[in-house]
Amino acid sequence: MWKTELGKSFVRKEGKEKVTGQVRYGGDIEIPGLLHAATKTSPNAFARILEIDTSEAEQMPGVKIVFTGQDYDQNVGLYLSDKAIIARNVVRHYGEIVAVVVADTYKQALNAVEKIKVSYDVMTPVMSPSDALKPDAPLLHENMEAYSHIAPIHPEPGSNVANRTKVRKGDVGKAFSKADHVVDVTVEIPPGDHVAMEPRVAIAEIKKSGYVHITSSTQAPFVVKNLMSHFFDVDPGKIIVDVPMVGGGFGGKAGLQLEGLAYLLSKKAGGRPVRVVNTREDDLLASPGHIGLESHVKIAADAKGKILGMDLVFNFNSGAYADYAVNVSRAAAISCTGPYSVENVKCDSLCVYTNMPFATAYRGFGHIEMSFGIERAMDTLADQIGLDPVELRKINAIKAFDTTPVQSVLNASTGDIETCFTRVSEMLGGNLGEVEHVDAQHIKAKGIAGLWKAPAMPTNTDAGAILTFNSDGSCNLNVGVVEIGQGTKTGLAQLVSERLKLPMEKVHVVMPVNTSTSPSDWATAASRGLMMAGVAALEACDDAISQIKTIAASVLKAPERDLVYEAGQIFVSDDPTLSVSFAEVVLGYVYPNGNAVYGQVIGKGRYIAKHLTDVDQETGKGHPDLEWTLGAEGVEVLLNVNTGRYKITKAVCCMDVGKVVNPELARGQVVGGMAMGIGYTIMEGFKFNTRGQVTNGVLRDYKIMRYDDAPEYSVEFLETPQQDGPYGARGLGEQSVIGMPGAISNALSRAAKVSLNTIPMTPELIWKQMQKGGTK
């Protein structure tokens, strides 16, 4: 009998190749005749470009072309076409690319870049959303009304607002007027970076036939294909995007990145293959990072702690361009209350331009930012009422059949966050409101946060799966999901193994994605790969089984309904001595005399999101979310009250993820997300001088977590099934990043007895706050 292996921790399908140096990423690929690009970037945050003198650079050895903003007069943009391919006439952030040299070798390109001279008329940069929103603020995009945009985005020409999303639910004024308790909390997050270990890379080649070949480190090959077709007027069928292994994404590789630039460089170089690969500095600054936020959270509650209303203003810091940021701010509005049931909600979520490096998607997509303010306000409220922080969260926890801020009803698949709160509290040893004086200098404290996330995605988000077979009866799964380290392809193989009752070693997965041979798949983003491609993969299995049974029925001379299968054999159920193997039928059956019938089995499966709508521009009402993952997180910190230095000693998470297909891979995703959230909260973010220049634009100064910063992690899963997911599974890749700012700031605020509402929470910041004395 087939014994289920769902829930067994198989090692990664690509694991062996990754530990032997055999995996090829975009930067490892060599093509005969490949040309190499290097960039010249702006030292100014906001300036008019007066002149770019490329004459000397053009004469340098090996140089093929020099490209400037004047070479292409159209704009591009994911949702809002606000960006020249590289700066044209104006630079809007420090590190923006102003010229590119293409040469025979990378070294030659770098040498030639040194010879480019750019003169600027420097302007005063706008360095915060609140400054950008002032009536007399300089406009970053004077021609905003000329930009094209998609319908769900609402730019406001004549201002620095690239998008505004409004949520109006119930009567917030009334809720606040009858409240026993009101808290008002403001938090700030600076823009920063994903720091995927692989810098972004794209290779473009234009064939004489008109076919455009792109090799890219993208998370979204089909987005790249469609946007390139749209912006560069190439037939979509003539754009082939090939994705080798990708060295980490975290949202940073989900849009159109270097592909358009590589295409235009190749075009100018006569179609020759050109590689653009970011230096680490360009990856941090020229390519987009994560969004910043100024968040104003007001909560009204009754005497017992029941939340009556929330009044929220999110001023997101998009930086110089909109990219994904206009949808990040929208996603945050849609989930604006955090995982709490609130009857009366008002939220204005703005995506605001500033002269900072621009933002794209980042793990959590608006939810980590939104969550920080909400969770700080929850703890502030708990303190004010004198309630235990866990209790307050449980009283207000959202459940199945409650409505979200955009008035969409949560269905029966909704996870059990109340139990998550209980478990996180227990995992931390309880008594979260208490601190422990370890010695004269050290205080131990704990903090908790709730989290929820739904994928922000188009209403027609799709996935597909193709299943082909080999002569030994094994199969090959081809999906459009990119392997960026999340391990989805191994999880999908487990789903296929389960459905076909074939051992894992007989399920092969196609690792690279190619838009001309892989089925369409919206993007490897929003934690939806396992669920959506999983449903498609199961449908492909069912399709293949049906074909296999048709052939077997004919061979075994038995009706299909009497056939069963297991471990690569099809049996007649009431006479198992009669059987035929997958190997004998999957490429067509061959009779002893050589006659062949049926041909190969090809399974196909599809998925498209159902019942989704956009949100109303005035009220936010709508049904934009397919599924929700809920959970809770907590930390224990040890703070030195004399220095402000601290160590995160424990980080815990309990999340309701539906069926856990591969526990170790799932845990790896959750722990990785927790680590990223910890780094985000305690040490990351760009620093700027008064001229808007980034002063930590290299990894020496832009700190991310290292080995010795890692806490002890504990992770638990609840498995409330996702009814429309494959075997009950749903997304879990991003969510664990979300609760960390709240949990850490709550723990540190409790330990330091001050309100810590600014990221990054450096020892210096804590020490200064403690000198001032707090309000807590």
């Binding site: 090829r24 930067g27 722990v671 990785g672 992690y713």
Partner: protein
């Protein structure tokens, strides 16, 4: 002091083979290993010595190959991840989730391998000193920690 101008040919001992490369004096060991010798295990992560994705062994010690000139590696024994063959630490990285995207893995493996060789019974303080010189953005270091602990335990039991 060696004085070299323009292109020159050098011999490098990499993964127990003597390989010839034509280089410029300013070429880093990382670029020469990747571009002249075709060994792509060592990765370009920052070319500033911050991330460790380019780590190789030089006479058994881990070095960031982006931070040294290829010329300086002449006469030394270089080992890249391609030169590790079925070592326990590689197996442990697969088994214990020592990586996700894999981009930092070649470098991390070299560092961990060298540490386990030099200080087989490294305690947590020693491990922190060694392993904090490489960056991993995916794992939160939990899988790496478990993998190293597994190898230490296996070595003890031998």
């Amino acid at each position: 002091m060696i004085q070299i101008k323009g292109l020159t040919q050098i011999e490098l001992n990499v993964n127990s083979e003597v390989r010839t490369a034509t280089i410029s004096p300013e070429d880093t060991l990382l670029r020469v290993i990747r571009e002249s010798l075709g060994l792509i295990g060592p990765k370009v992560g920052c070319e500033n010595g911050d991330c460790g994705a380019c780590t190789v062994l030089l006479d058994g010690k881990p070095v960031k190959s982006c931070m040294m000139l290829a010329l300086d590696a002449v006469g030394k024994e270089i080992v890249t991840v391609e030169g590790l063959n079925d070592t326990l630490i590689q197996e442990a990285f697969v088994e214990y989730g020592g990586f996700q995207c894999g981009y930092c893995t070649s470098g991390f493996l070299m560092n961990a391998y060298a540490m386990l060789d030099a200080v087989p019974d490294a305690d947590e303080t020693v491990k922190s000193e060694w392993l904090s010189s490489n960056l991993c953005r995916c794992t939160g270091y939990e899988g790496i920690k478990k993998a190293v602990a597994f190898v230490q335990k296996s070595q003890k039991n031998k």
